[in-house]
Symmetry: C2
Subunit: 259 residues, 2 copies
DNA sequence: CGGTCGCTTGATAATCGTCAATTGATGTGG
DNA sequence: CCACATCAATTGACGATTATCAAGCGACCG
């Protein structure tokens, strides 16, 4: 992990590495203030850990490029990836509660992040109300996303899970103003499986099946989506994963009514 | 749903229904201010909905007594309970992101809640920094909890899931300064199953098995934990759910290594 | 060039969901 | 007050989804 410090006198100058990489909901007014608060950028290579679960919450991080996994570690030694963080996303937000990181943050690829010391964030908070409100909105959005993931993990089939992941990923790509159909998975099959609550082998089979059916092209970790409509059919639960050979079973049942 | 308005002139007086029911991390200094912001209490009976997913985010809620389920609704008509909220807990926090509720909030039993209009919360935020910081910490804690639930849903067996739920529930009971070993599940087996990503039938079998093994007493929805140590054995994954009859399989494998 | 790592694919089987039948509790209307 | 219906829960039988085990292959790295 390589640290690039940014001397204070340069911080107000415009070409700051974090500039232009902030989440869109942190408005332009706040942008400069925030980039001022970043005292260093960090360069990490694949597998390096930016933050350790349980360690003191000293920094917020912004991904400039590359990607990270957030790994939750259970008391009985389990571990699961609870989110991926790509460019322009902030990490470490679950630390506000008890001033400790609650996950490990590990680079999926060579990555660059901006580091915001909490001391500086605290100071800005005092000076600028809006910043705190935006932080609140951002953490709230992360919570909403985690709740969506709970829905996925608890009540979707393997085919639905992967369709949801791919469509979600396509959407993020669109927001980054890049070609939404082509992107690179930065993670291994095993990491993706951990996030979706599936085994590596199941992920591999699903990707193969998607390719066979002409829904997408898969070349290693490069994805090209060809039939978004078919992905939505998968998401709706109409498709099943054949492990050997299987007849088409009857239609899916109606959704569980919980009201 | 019965609304009890609280005239402004009474709001500063001490016997406010919300007082003493605030989360412990909202310090005493803030307590009075917050209770002042509550303009009404609401009484709901089992099955009534306090907030609807997608509707404008107009209020925060505090459970005074009773309990609620937060139901996440998927695009394909799925639904899953993503959290339960008992006395002294706040609800609606995922609404800050887009000013809409992201879940339905439904009473599990006859319940009483305090309603905080967001307009009043906004006003207090302007006047008092600490309140906003506490809100941030509270939302952050909810996020950490959701991430824990992701770990549970994605990488635990049915036996581990229910053990985790029961131990967690016991812990909350302890914090409420009540007998940690005895409590009432407010939800049906089906609701508990939805939260844990299991079917109603599996929940029923697990509870029966826990009772047979003398780990706890189960009478309808009343629970009495007899052997916390055994629950921890279940949590560690050493126990399996026999669907008919089964030999003891070999020891569990080591946890997945993701570093 | 040997070794590890990521990935694929097949065979097997375990966990847990689904379907079904039954019971007890609760509530409702005649 | 008693059928009657409805709902929550229990339990059994069955089977599907998906994990696990195993073998093999290409790529990359030291």
């Amino acid at each position: 992990m390589k640290r690039h410090s940014i001397p204070a006198q340069f911080r107000s100058h415009h070409p700051h590495p974090c500039d232009g990489n902030l989440p869109s909901d942190l408005s332009a007014v706040l942008r400069q203030r925030i980039t001022e608060a970043s005292e260093a950028t960090l360069e990490l290579s694949r597998g390096e850990t930016l933050a350790h679960s349980g360690m003191p919450f000293k920094h917020l991080f912004l991904v400039v490029n590359g990607g990270f996994k957030a790994v939750q570690i259970g008391e009985s030694g389990q571990s699961q990836i609870v989110s991926f963080h790509l460019a322009r996303e902030m990490m470490g937000l679950s630390g506000f509660a008890h001033q400790r990181y609650t996950t490990d943050l590990v680079a999926l690829a060579p990555s660059l992040v901006c580091e915001f010391p909490m001391t500086a964030v605290q100071a800005l908070i005092g000076a600028n109300h809006l910043l705190l409100e935006h932080l609140l909105a951002y953490v709230s959005e992360s919570l909403a996303r985690a709740e969506q993931d709970q829905l996925m993990l608890g009540s979707m089939s393997a085919t639905q899970k992967i369709a949801m992941f791919l469509l979600d990923r396509q959407e993020r790509q669109r927001q980054a103003a890049e070609d939404p159909r082509r992107f690179e998975l930065l993670m291994t099959r095993e990491e993706l499986g951990s996030y979706l609550g599936l085994s590596m082998e199941t992920i591999s089979r699903l990707l193969s099946q998607l390719q066979e059916q002409g829904v997408m092209r898969v070349d290693k970790r490069l994805i090209e989506i060809l039939r978004e409509d078919q992905l939505r059919v998968w998401l709706d639960g109409a498709v099943n994963l054949p492990m050997s050979s299987r007849r088409k079973p009857a239609a899916k049942r109606a959704a569980l009514k919980l009201a």
